[in-house]
Each structure stands twice: as structure tokens, then as C-alpha cells.
Symmetry: C2
Subunit: 277 residues, 2 copies
């Protein structure tokens, strides 16, 4: 069994020092709680609601930044850490990136491919499809927030063998009918079930420059059921059998992967249709 | 606004005459209730739990069968009808097929591409990808039951302009935690929201040779919310603005289609990985 912990935090916009301490302490607490995998929010080092590109540049860090050394040290060689940061690329461009730091310290990055709304003013979209990382705890795929609403990306990671999708998010609060879960959680549940993978979404809390967040952190098992939500302190914790994600059988001879008809899916790789009502 | 009606029925296995009357009457009732679109269950003419291929052959019909003339007459030129039947193909092979009968009487078929479990012993899978039909009420895509759990197929229809997916189903009852909706409904909700299309799933009720059905009929709007479930008589009815499905904007400049990166989705068209825990 793998112990998965999401740490829902409230970073401060533009305050790298505060966010460094906040996120590093959250990793240490998760490890103390037995975590094999710790997931932090999107852009946890920087905040989200930048007023300008210049403001984002001031808190951008590179992949060899000491902040990520702190994360590595806090994980103490025991846990995988997945968390979002504002990355300065080789040419000075900015990416909305998630780092995966494996138990042995190896660093992998996923640069958000599909930017949401205002992010397009700040960030350069990534160019590499998401890749599965073989960690000691299991095979982990990383997506960032809005990307998890694109079935092409979640399916790609599942087909490549991901047992769990770790999804740092900043979910802006949206309307929903009374008694309903946030729509992003419903999407995570359905995604888990149709792909038979576990999903850990780590959202943020609080409010930032008038933007309220959903605070919808959830851990979903490969059957699609929510097995943990954040407690009063913002921690969600679940023990998951990640090996269960390798079995794609739905019932009897029905199999979510073997029953696919990839020769009929060519439409998905053709250019986008024009939209707009 | 389009009035969408699902008629959740309990057909009798192998009893073509009973099922013909049951389904035809259900169409007439739906039209009397103002339906512009009527959805019936999967294999409503035949039942589902066949003991042998021979038993299915005995109730298989062709696309020009008088039973479908009855459906056309009951629709009275006012409604589109989508319903499932056991089809005998040109070479005698059997298909799990859904017919779409347009308002003017034109017939279209979708032959189930991805067969579930025991269906594989009975039916030949279809070979044509699903296509959107331009009806007077709107642009309709048809999928059958288990197919709606394959994001490749739902996305394909949405990209091709479907405003509503009509999904005849026979959902076998599966375990779910207390208070949760059936997993197939969660999948329909998420599918609707990520594609911004409405979905009408027509399930069946009752029990058949020991198989209990979910009776989970639901109509979901393009935001992913359940707007109608079946009433005591088995009818679910909702008025939907299908034109809303043409607008793929999520928020601001975020657009569920324009933000796709089809050049990165090639994995989806490659052969299936081997699975099995």
C-alpha cells in the first residue's frame, strides 16, 4: 500500500520566502504522517493571480533552485514530492511547471501544455507530452489543474502505465448546484474510473486578489470513488493499492484498454474545430 | 429549447411482439409529452441476457423491419427517436445497434464498436466510427452503453459537432458507496462538462435472468449537471438549449476545444498496451 498525502496550502502571491517555508514544512509534516507521495498545489512557490509578467518573473526559479533542495531534504529520501512552481526556462521564458522529485532525489518536470485563461498572458506553454515517472512507490503521471479536464492527456498517461496521476491545482471557485461536488472532482472521479488509475488532486485554499479557490483537494481510487478529502488542517491522506491500477478489467472479459479501437480514433489528432456559439 | 425524453423500460427477453408494443407506445407517450427527441434503452426490442447466439438470432431484425416503421409512425414526424435493437446484418451476423430515426423518417444506424463482456459471444463489433446526424432538433451523436465510458468516442462526436449524445444503455447494477450516484452517471456528467455537450442516457429497469439493472436513466446538461432523472413511470424529461453546446468556452479565454494540443495526442491512436495485474 502507498500512503498518499495532499497538502492543501494558501501560498502568498509573490512571497517566495514565505511560500518556501510553507511548502517545505508541509512536506516534512506529510512525511511525518507516513507519506510515500506528497502532492502540493499548482504554483505553490509563487501564487497564481499575477498582475503582470514582470511580477511572475520576480518569483520564477530554475530547476536547480535551492528551494527544490529544501523540498528534497524535507522528503528525507522517503517520499516522492510533486508540486507546482513558476519556472524560468533556459531562454528566460516562464512556465507553469510541476516538479516531481523522486525518492532518490531525481527531478523531473512537466510544463503545463494547456494554459487556462489569464495564464496565457504570463506563461509559455510546454511542448513535451506528459511522461510517466517510475518511482519507488509506483508509476506516477503528473498533470497541472486544467490539463486534467482534457481526456486526451489523462488517457495518454494511463496508456503509458501511470498507476496514479498527481495533479497540483488552483481551482477557481465556480457555481454548482447545492449538494454537488465541485465539477473538477466529478471529472477526476470519472477519469479515474474510465482509466482505472488513482488520482490525487491538491488544490489551494484562501483567496487571492479577489479570486476565491475551491479548496477541493481529493484523493480518488481507481474505481472512481473519493477516498479522502482535506481535513481541518488542509491535509488529505489515503492508503492506496497502486498495483490495482494495472488491472484494466471492468467486468468479466470487458477491459477498459483491451476493448479500445485505436484505429477509429484518428479524429483526435486532427486540428481543432472552430468553436463559439 | 429542445424537449428531450428518455423512456426507461423493462423489455422481455426474446419477446419481440411484447417489446414492439412496449417501445412503440413509449414513443407515442413521449411525443404526447412534447418530446423533440425520444431515447429508448439498448436492445429494447430483444432484451439483453441471451443464453446463446441462436436465441439472439431469433429476435434479430433488419433495418427495414416493420417494427421500425411502427417507431417512425409513433414519432408522428415530430420527434427524433433513438433506440437499441438486435440487428441482423447483410451476411447474417448480429450487431448490437442503435437506430436514429430523424423527424422526416430517415434512418441511421450505429453498430456498437466496443462490446461488453458476454456480448462478445453474440455480436459482431461495428466497424464505422460514430457519426453526427443533423436532425431538425439539433446535431445528435449516438453511442451505446459501455461505449460512453471510452473518452475517445465521446470526444470524437463532440469534435464533430454533436450538441447532444443519445446513449441507449443496459447498465448492470454495480456496487457503489452509500449516497453516490451510479458510476455511469458520474462518467456522463464529466463527459458532458469536458466536452460541453448534453447527454441523455436511457437505461432499463427490472431484472433479467438474475441480472439486476441500475435503472439510472439521466439527462445531463452541457455543464455536467443532472437535470432530469426518471419519474415513477420511468420517464425522464428535460428542456435543453442545445445551441449552448456549440460554445466551448470554459472561462474567459479558456476553451475546451481551442486549448487542445492534437499534435501531442498521437499515443491515442497507437495499439493498446497489454494489461492485467
Amino acid at each position: 500500500m502507498a500512503t498518499v498525502v495532499c497538502q492543501q496550502l494558501a501560498p502568498r502571491i509573490g512571497d517566495l520566502r514565505f511560500n518556501r517555508e510553507l511548502s517545505t514544512r508541509a512536506i516534512a509534516e506529510a512525511v511525518a504522517a507516513g507519506a510515500d507521495l506528497v502532492v502540493l498545489p499548482e504554483l505553490v512557490t509563487s501564487g497564481f493571480a499575477f498582475e503582470s509578467k514582470r511580477e511572475a518573473e520576480a518569483v520564477a526559479i530554475e530547476l536547480d533552485d535551492p528551494l527544490l533542495d529544501d523540498w528534497t531534504a524535507a522528503a528525507a529520501g522517503r517520499a516522492v514530492v510533486v508540486g507546482g512552481f513558476c519556472e524560468r526556462g533556459e531562454g528566460g521564458e516562464l512556465y507553469n511547471t510541476a516538479a516531481l522529485i523522486a525518492e532518490a532525489g531525481g527531478r523531473h518536470v512537466h510544463r503545463k501544455l494547456q494554459l487556462w485563461h489569464e495564464e496565457k498572458r504570463i506563461f509559455t506553454p510546454g511542448s513535451e507530452p506528459p511522461r510517466v515517472v517510475e518511482a519507488r512507490v509506483g508509476r506516477i503521471g503528473v498533470l497541472i489543474c486544467y490539463e486534467a479536464e482534457f481526456p486526451e492527456l489523462t488517457r495518454t498517461l494511463a496508456l503509458d502505465g501511470a498507476e496514479l496521476l498527481a495533479v497540483p491545482t488552483n481551482w477557481p471557485l465556480v457555481d454548482r448546484p447545492p449538494g454537488e461536488r465541485p465539477p473538477e472532482v466529478l471529472i477526476a472521479q470519472a477519469t479515474a474510473r474510465v482509466n482505472r488509475v488513482a488520482i490525487a488532486c491538491c488544490d489551494r485554499s484562501g483567496e487571492e486578489r479577489g479570486q476565491e479557490w475551491t479548496a477541493g483537494t481529493c484523493i480518488v481510487d481507481a474505481d472512481g470513488w473519493v477516498v479522502a478529502e482535506r481535513d481541518g488542517s488542509g491535509m488529505a491522506r489515503a492508503d492506496l493499492d497502486l498495483a490495482a491500477s494495472r488491472d484494466k478489467r471492468v467486468a468479466g472479459t470487458a477491459d477498459a484498454f483491451a476493448d479500445r479501437r485505436p484505429e477509429l480514433y484518428g479524429r483526435l489528432t486532427r486540428p481543432n474545430p472552430r468553436t463559439g456559439a
